[in-house]
Every structure is written in C-alpha cells, then in structure tokens.
C-alpha cells in the first residue's frame, strides 16, 4: 500500500487561516468527538488571529466548563484563557432551541400575533419537543450568527457542532421538512378547510377533506386539532418568513465560505456513517473539506511488528531468565495488542480513502484521558492542524 500523498492530507490549519472560510460545520455519528473537534478548531483559530465563535448543541458537562459555558442561555460569551496576542478572540455558546424558536416568532410576526403564538399550547409543545426542532433551530442560530457577524464584524469565523441526531443528516433535512410543512397544503387545509376544498364541484377533494379532518380528530382528539388550527391561523402571516429562512440557511450551507468537516472514529460503523455523509454532501453540492478520524491508536515503538513482539515474548518465556523478564514479556504482549489495533484501524481508514478518493483526511491520536480543559483542546488542535501525511507519523 503506497503512503498517501500530500494532496490527501486535510490541511485544517490552512482552512482555518483562510479569511474566505467563514463557517465550519462539524458533523458525524454520535460519540465520535464532534463537539471536542469543534471546540479545538475554535481555540486554534482564535489563537491564530481569527475572531471565532463556537456554537455547541449539547456538550458534555466538563467540556462545556472548559469553554466557560455554565448555562444554556443562547448568548455567545468570551472564553477565558485564550491567547489573544495574534489579534483573535473566541466566544462560545450553547443552543437553547426553545428560545431560538421564540426569537424567530417574535422577529417575523406582529407583536399581537407573536404573543398569541407563544401562548398556544401546540406551539409550546412543538418548540420544545418536535423531533427536528433542535436541528432546525441549530441552523436558524447559525443564520443569525452569520447575519450578526456580517453586520458588526464581531466574528469572522463560526464553528458549529451538529445535534446528536437520529441520523447525522437530520440537520440538513429538518429546515426543509418544517418549511414544506408550514406552507404545505395540509396546514392551509387546517387553517381554512372551506378554502382548501374549493367551492362546489370538486367533490372528490371535499370527500378527501372530510376524511382527513375526521381521521385526525379521531387520532389526535378534538382539542388538539383546535389548538393546531389556532396555531396555524396565528402563524399564517409567518409562512413566507419561515420558508425564506429555510432556503437562506440551505444556500448558506452550499456557499463556498462554508466548509463541512466530517468527524469519525476508526470503527466500521462510524466510518460507514461518514461515508454515507460524504455521499450526501456531494449530492447536495455542499463543500466537504475532509474527514477527521479521532482516537487513532499509536504505538511508541513502531519498528517492532506485532508478530515479532509475540515471538520475542514467547522466546523470553522459554528462557525464564532475568527478574525483569515477566515485565518485558507483558510489555511485548501489550505492544502486540496495540500494534494489531493500529493495523486494523489503518486498514479501515485506508478502505475509506480508497472508497472516497479525493477526500482529504487527518488523524487524531487517542488520548488516555477525556478532554476537559483548554490545554487538552490545544493538544487536539495541534494534532488536527499537523500537515504531515498520517503514514509518516506512524
């Protein structure tokens, strides 16, 4: 197997330094270190002169603390301890999806309408529990941050972590789904059943409307249907707004100022999801910068193969020599296990590379401890921004 050439190394330092890069979206399966990657990229960018903001969705508590995030309050706040001598800065925030949704309503509806919507029980349930609200609101927040950045220049780089979704792609689909629902035929039918059915004549459609409303009322109950109708009537003025926002966010994700970074672990399932994701981004013509493979096993004595280590340990066992023999044997067997893991991971990532030629990759070594402070994030960042091909570091 030929070592990968330079063109296949994901050069995140260049991406972060490039002033044309305005948005970085980190995505991937759950549990692969997306949030840590996003935070590390933010720290590196800030310490290399970018005015960065990191939008996290649901960070682990200790990671959140390392960024000074103690409450979920939807407000970007400066991260303490960042080296700002290069002229950069770092803000971080946690997404509050309900508050973001409320802000959207307040922004797009007249004050009296807005109050009506915010008080509606159906709205309250949708805004806090609709499967997809988090994804939609993450993208909405991204749009807001981008607008704010363009307006007052507070930030020149937004790093966004994506929600731990059912599927890593939900955040691409949620805005469209909510958008198409909100100005779809069904909601108009709920808002004004008489209109949707047309006047006389369209008998089939009228039958249809009857079936739909009576079935819904059977399943959902009359009260819920009534709440929905009130909600929809109040929302009527906002249809255009929602749709427009969803389209804008979608366009923003396709823009060349955006870069997607797919995060994975060197495991079959995580790489399979990464592969699916890469394909999907390609389909949507969204700019994929490359793949980050976290938790790569490294060995400190790479010249010794696993097989040779086992053979040496066996030979030592036969000799039954020095007092340190037992420790040396155990260290050799440990080395063999680690080296085998490293080879297996290499095989998996090489398989991904072969299946996706042209997608640059960078590997981050596994660390013995979890990351929960700036020093740990800097270490991850330094591995992320190394420009050497992985093969040379093995």
């Amino acid at each position: 197997m030929a070592p990968p050439s330079d063109s296949q190394v994901l050069d995140l330092a260049r991406l972060l330094e490039d002033p044309q890069t305005r948005i970085i979206v980190c995505c991937g399966a759950g549990g692969v270190g997306k949030t840590t990657t996003a935070a590390a990229l933010g720290v590196w960018a800030a310490e290399h002169g970018r005015r960065a903001v990191v939008l996290t969705i649901d960070p682990a508590r200790r990671l959140a603390q390392s960024l000074g995030l103690t409450e979920l309050d939807n407000i970007p706040r400066p991260v303490a301890g960042i080296d700002t001598t290069a002229g950069g800065s770092l803000d971080a925030m946690m997404l509050d999806m309900k508050r973001t949704f409320d802000e959207v309503v307040e922004q797009h509806a007249a004050p009296d309408k807005a109050a009506q919507i915010l008080a509606n029980p159906f709205y309250q349930a949708v805004s806090s529990s609709f499967a997809g609200t988090q994804e939609y609101m993450a993208m909405e927040k991204l749009g807001q941050l981008r607008t704010e950045a363009a307006r007052d220049g507070r930030w020149d780089l937004i790093v966004v972590d994506t929600p731990p979704s059912r599927s890593a792609l939900d955040f691409l689909d949620a805005p469209k789904r909510l958008g198409s629902f909100l100005d779809g035929r069904f909601i108009r039918l709920l808002a004004a059943p008489a209109k949707a059915g047309g006047r006389a004549g369209l008998k089939v459609l009228n039958v249809g409307v009857g079936v739909v409303t009576s079935t819904l009322s059977k399943v959902l109950g009359g009260q819920l249907l009534q709440d929905v109708q009130t909600f929809v009537a109040a929302l009527d003025t906002m249809f255009g707004g929602f749709r427009e926002r969803a389209d804008q966010t979608y366009a923003l994700l396709k823009d060349s100022e955006t870069a997607f970074v797919v995060v994975a672990a060197p495991e079959r399932d995580a790489l399979r999801e990464a592969s699916y994701f890469a394909g999907r981004l390609d389909e949507e013509e969204m700019p994929l910068a490359g793949l980050v493979v976290n938790r790569i096993q490294r060995v400190a004595a790479p010249s010794l193969s696993a097989a040779r280590a086992v053979a040496a340990a066996d030979e030592l066992a036969d000799r039954d020599g020095s007092a340190s023999g037992a420790t040396t044997q155990a260290l050799l067997r440990l080395h063999a296990t680690l080296a085998e893991t490293a080879v297996r991971q290499q095989r998996l990532t090489a398989g991904f590379a072969a299946g996706h030629p042209g997608i640059p990759m960078v590997e981050v070594p596994a660390s013995a401890q979890d990351i929960h402070d700036l020093a740990g994030l800097r270490e991850v960042a330094s591995a992320l921004t190394t420009r050497e091909p992985a093969a040379l570091r093995r």
Binding site: F130, F186, V228, S303, E315, Q369, D370
Partner: protein
Amino acid sequence: MPESHPDLSKVRLHVVTGKGGTGKTTAAAAAATALARQGRRVLLAEVEGRQGISQTFDVAPLGHTETRILHHRAGGELWAMSVDAKDSLFDYLQKFYKAGRTRAILERFGAVDFATTIAPGVRDVLLIGKIYEAVGRRAKNGQAVYDAVVLDAPPTGRVVRFLNVNAEVADVAKVGPIRSQADSITRMLRSHTTAVHVVTLLEEMPVQETVDALGELRRAGLPVGAIVVNQVREPLLSDKAMRSVTAARTARLAERVAADLAAVGVRGSEEVAAGLIADGAQHADRVELEREQEAILATQGRLTVRLPWLPEGTEGGGISLLADAAAGQGLV
C-alpha cells in the same frame, strides 16, 4: 437487594439505551440472541431507522415487517424489525378504526407527515405503540406471540422523553384516543415486566451520562434494569508491572528491558524498550481511569453486566460471545 437486582428473567420488554457510540445496538443484539438461545421467541426492534440491527447481523435491511433472522436449535427464534412511524399509524388506524385504506388520501394531504413528524409526541407514541402491541400480541390459542421484546431505543439524551410518552402528549392531548393509548403504554412501561438497561463504556463522558440517565429514569418512574459495560478489556499488565512503568524513574527498568530484548535478538533494543515503557505507562493510566469509572458505576447499586471487548468487532460469531456473557451475568 430486590430493588437493585430485580429478577430480569420475568422481564418481557428489555429497553436498551446508552450514549451514542457505546454499542447500544450490539448490547441489544446480544440480549436478544441470548434469549433466542434459551429457546424463546424474541422480537428485536429499532425505532430510528438506522439499520443497526441488519448491519450487526449482516442481513438485508429491515423494514416495518417482522422478519425472522435467526433460528436456534433449542427452538428459539429471533425476529427483527425497524419500526416505521407512518406504518405504525396505519396499523393503528386499521386496528381501531378499520381505516387503513384512507392511507392514500391522508398521504396526499400531508396529514401523515404532520402526525408522524410535526405533531409533538405523536411520533413517539406511534413508535412505542407498535412495541406495546408486539409485547401484548396473542395468538389464537391465547399464548403470547413473543416471549420477549428487545428494543434498541434512542440514546440516553433522548430516551426518557421517548419513553415518557404520557407526559409528552399531556400538554397537547388531555383527552382522546392518543391520550388513552399513551396511558396504556405508560402502564406497561412502568410495570415490572419492563426493564431499561443503560449501556456504557469505561470512559468519563459515557459514565457521566449513564449516571445522569439513571437518575432521570428513576424520577420518571421507569424501571431501571442493568448497567451494561461494553468493550471491557482486562488489563494487559500486572499491577506490579503498571507500578514500575509509571514510577518516577524508569531508567533502570529501561536498561533491564533493553537487555531482555537484546537477548532475544530484537534490533534497536534501547529505543524499543523506551517505546514499550511509554506505551505501558499510557496503558496503566487508562486502566486507572477505567477503575475510577467502575467505582462510580458501583455506587449506583445496580446489576452490572460486563461485555468483553471484541478485537475483530461483532463479525464472525462475536454476538454469540456477547450473548453468552450477557446470559451468564443475568441480563436475560
């Protein structure tokens, strides 16, 4: 300790959750396989359309139709499905209103999308409703169709909301059919025939999430089953060896290891010795961290089931090994 070690052999619905990436699906597959090997008829279901089950068992992608994927000599059978919210809605309409044929009309108006993706909580009620139906399903002779159902549930971050369907629909549906369906589901979920197992790894974040999830489950009145520790690796060094590689001075140890290596003809023995000791020290750090995490889990006072790490993953009989481990430790 009856509270912390419930008799899991009476459980008919095993709900398996855990932080993303901990191996929920693998643990659920192991539990289901173990039950089938005991001669039971088991349904293994996923609800997020991830096709984790079909990938784990290396079978064709699953749909809403229950499919037999394993038959055991002991007479046990493993059936599997990927529960679909839309199909569940039509199953439900057909069963209670004989209205399954209105599908085309409902689809055309977007009503199906509304009920299955937008209306809060309804999607979850439909998904769990299907599980509820499978648990309670009886054959013509009155016998339960499935001896047990194993649910590969959403991850810890969402699982309580998912299982707490009652609270979820309470805001929007105070009365009506959805509400009464939610009430029956809740009765089943809170009974002793259900157990919610939480899967974790011996790492800080998953353990923290496990502890949080256990608290949330208890507060929601849901019956907690076992903590399943996945990918357990036994230490590869003795405690004595770990002490010597992590000691402040390792120069003498390095000399001795290098001498041992040279004696068996390993080239560059000094450099290799330094590398081996460095990796040994890292390994010792990880073992220590894992022991700390195990101590945290022990304070939870739950049955803890340890599933071994499989170097080659779940392919080639791996699930059977895990099934044996799960059954041997009383998970099923």
